[in-house]
Symmetry: C2
Amino acid sequence: MVLPILHLNGYKIANPTVLARIGDDELEALMRGYGHTPHMFVAGFDEEPHASIHARFAAMVDDVMDEIAAIKEEAASNPDMPRPAWPMIVFRTPKGWTCPPEIDDEVTEGSWRAHQVPLSNARDTDAHLQTLEDWLRSYDPDDLFDDGGAPYAATRAIAPEGELRMSARPETNGGLVLRDLVMPDFRDFAVDVPNPGSGPVEATRQLGEFLRAVMEANMDNFRIFAPDELASNRLQAVLEVTDKVWEGEREDDGTHTAASGQVVEMLSEHQCQGWLEGYLLTGRHGLFTSYEAFIHIIDSMFNQHAKWLKVSRELPWRRPIASLNYLLSSHVWRQDHNGFSHQDPGFIDHVVNKKAEVVRVYLPADANTLLSTYDHCLRSRDYVNVVIAGKQPAPQWLTMEQAEDHCTRGLGIWDFASNVETGEEPDVVMAAAGDVPTLEILAAIDIIRHELPDLKVRMINVVDLMRLQPEGEHPHGMSDQAFDQLFTTDKPIIFNYHGYPWLIHRLTYRRTGHENLHVRGFKEEGTTTTPFDMAMLNDIDRFHLVMDVIDRVPGLGTRAALLRQRLSDQRLAARRYARVHGADLPEVANWVWPDAGAETREAMAGTQDTGGDNE
Amino acid sequence: MVLPILHLNGYKIANPTVLARIGDDELEALMRGYGHTPHMFVAGFDEEPHASIHARFAAMVDDVMDEIAAIKEEAASNPDMPRPAWPMIVFRTPKGWTCPPEIDDEVTEGSWRAHQVPLSNARDTDAHLQTLEDWLRSYDPDDLFDDGGAPYAATRAIAPEGELRMSARPETNGGLVLRDLVMPDFRDFAVDVPNPGSGPVEATRQLGEFLRAVMEANMDNFRIFAPDELASNRLQAVLEVTDKVWEGEREDDGTHTAASGQVVEMLSEHQCQGWLEGYLLTGRHGLFTSYEAFIHIIDSMFNQHAKWLKVSRELPWRRPIASLNYLLSSHVWRQDHNGFSHQDPGFIDHVVNKKAEVVRVYLPADANTLLSTYDHCLRSRDYVNVVIAGKQPAPQWLTMEQAEDHCTRGLGIWDFASNVETGEEPDVVMAAAGDVPTLEILAAIDIIRHELPDLKVRMINVVDLMRLQPEGEHPHGMSDQAFDQLFTTDKPIIFNYHGYPWLIHRLTYRRTGHENLHVRGFKEEGTTTTPFDMAMLNDIDRFHLVMDVIDRVPGLGTRAALLRQRLSDQRLAARRYARVHGADLPEVANWVWPDAGAETREAMAGTQDTGGDNE
């Protein structure tokens, strides 16, 4: 049974507290406005003996507990019971209650001065040492401890025993009560990929189908939290098997709100993060889906959870808990209707500052890799998993079998997009991490195949960002041998990345070929514009990527000068078209990988988003 | 005159809004709890003609405006007037009021469906196009616009003229009304530094003296915002010339709270950030002081302000506003009483992801450099200035004249700590950014002078972090020539940094000598322990720095093996002492730079913090 208590002792470090200074009327109104029935308790401001204070408080706690029990009893028998105004206690006592009234002639008890170490010089001055002794003796230690300083049996008896001790409650060590999720086979939700580039498919919508099955199989220990972005991020399929819990007034308005449900939506990233943390720490499973840019709202809360995980791993008695899983969508590259305020991929940078043992970052490039990735995340323990995936119709690259292998490796060569035979050296390595950067790299390779057919191109996709780090830096880190074999030690590497480019340099700066690494990514250029114009604003677009290849492959520049000029002209043409039509050039927007097949070509012709995004 | 209105239209993207579903009683209680007198207005749910709705609302607005005017009138004549319950309006209308009631047989007006683009397929289907036309015609455009589509004079007359147009209000373009601060001479607050290493001085307390003078000279357009950390960060001198504005009940309790004042303290980083942004955007000046670790709470708000600054620089009619100045103290290296939860220097990494033209990061190593830095920040425009400085008693390194030169350069060789004559090449470059890392580098150099007297050491201190970047990357960026001259292209560089080490690699990875750069910094290891133990936990301590030199200067390793072993033993001895005594070895805690002088040696002997820190 939970009994909320607002303890008002009047001060914090150096100021009064707000709620202690608004008066009882406003305070009571505020608590009622928050949906509570406040009970006011005041103590310590007069000569009332402590015994009587304890008796008064015990009686109030009993009353309030009875009220809570009565509410629960009615709720059990009456499903249509209106939301109760849960009782709570406002507990007013002096700050530093029972500490020395004054120290150095300054009021201390009942003052902000009691917040800090009120006798910091006890070891320096006899006066303070005496004050300290008098203070401690005021608690009658002789009645509590024997001559050896050990508590008497009567003192020890005050503490509850066994699981009644707060720190011994099983739910405070969530791993103790954690049950594995019953996991449906994610392969059953695979997208059929007859050829690379087929589709289009909305990756997160496909994940939603899988999550619906996960939800259905775990209705008592799996929850999804979202700041009004569940449907916007395309996960609404879960609402076929559960509702959104909603304690406010409910209407038949198609919002799937109900008295109980496993989805919790509130437009407060702080609430979502806090609820999920509490749910995980008490031995359950869940995920938090948000717009990529706005997850920064909980940066500080993430910090504390990551720090908690780091320290708890060092405590043998702490059992592992389920990982904190993020699904970030509506990402930086597809804010067609929202613009600059919604464009920020920096949460990845924030996350990787925390301990390598704790953090994981995944950038699946299509639906099957997203499914395989999320299956892994939901089974993991004691991590923070950040998964970033698009929600817009996009081409699919890997069959489920290929996706599983790819996700298990964390990165790899995409053979269908490479033209380097075994035994040959590539002229250039073209790598990508993230769905939109992968699309642009492949479109660039398509151009290269037509314009520079002799150029040997190796295409690499990275889904697990931590693989780029050296073995010694991260548990997922790759050996230098393996890295050098993939990325070469002496060939130019054009890396098209979802986020701020320098992170790729940070992860790879110890690698032999780092000097040859050229990273494109978000460089804080954006506005409300078309998807391809966004790519061009940050130079991650297909045309610029080919220009980067021309600039970096030795000897190519002079031979490809005309091509380079045409590519630069194509960028201008694309921008002009976007400005005039508010949409991308059809040949750009509807581009499909050459081997995708006619069916896909038709399907893609209709995908350019003309509708409204959210927020 | 400001009239707060809570518009409840019932829905957001896909859910009801909380306040629209708690009922009028709780909602009114909540507004009263927030200190307001709510006026309820409901419209659009019945057949009431719009003219009558507008008349009702106009009448309510008049009444509320009169109430506000009356309050202001009384306040003007009665300084002791109790805090009024400011009136506000709760404005209930249907979501998408006056849009098509239904689209595709789905309720749209009064529904969450109206949040998005309700007719996204208008260009695809005739039915939707017809619906759109009927909708737009429902506003009688023929009465508003002529055949050419231009608004009739009567239509235009509805809009106010000149400065009555909201977007033309001078305070919405704050730069128009911005007045320069009257700046006292920061040199008048210089700390006397007879020899390098003298002191100790609390840097931020010295800054507080300067800020008191700034405040005194600018009582109508300068404010300091703090989450109950003004005094904790040692800026309380400003309270000698102003108070903390406090609208709640006030008592004579030594908190310096008053009905008006230029300091605003509330334990909400969100409130402090929002208030300061509003104050700057309307043409005033200010700063926000916070604990370093907790400034992450406003990461997302910082993002939006930085984005606003970036875009506003591109709008010629937007006049520059005062910079958003942070003073972050109680930093990662001195959380002696708070521990791991208070240790996070990552705000720097978050900030440098934003446009180089907008962000500045300063790490002054002593009081005079802090004073010179802050004078610069308070005079600047359109930046976000992040200044990180310690509040603990610490040695001082530069005279004010030296500090000015150093801050103007942004970085430089500290001659007193180097033993490389002009014409000589250093054997090793030892660089530092931040107060504690600088102290440890100098203590390491002191060891080297005794143990490896022939080693040529160049000591560099960096105060303006952005100087490390190439010219092309940041306006403060250094030329490669200048950088190479300072840091050499082929000598080992041991860089002791305040924050996460990889940022230094990120800023310098294009530099010739980058391969020789070895950075020490915070690697997310921390707990509640002594200052020197914190340094050792992250290997930024003097002993480990000398070990790094031994490991990296060619040929030194074998000759200095015994010294290296002794240094490693000294680390163990220091840790053992800290564990037993809860304080650092006196010879470590009280170390002073050899040239500091006897007076300082005595002074330092008493500085080891035995008292309480805050929070």
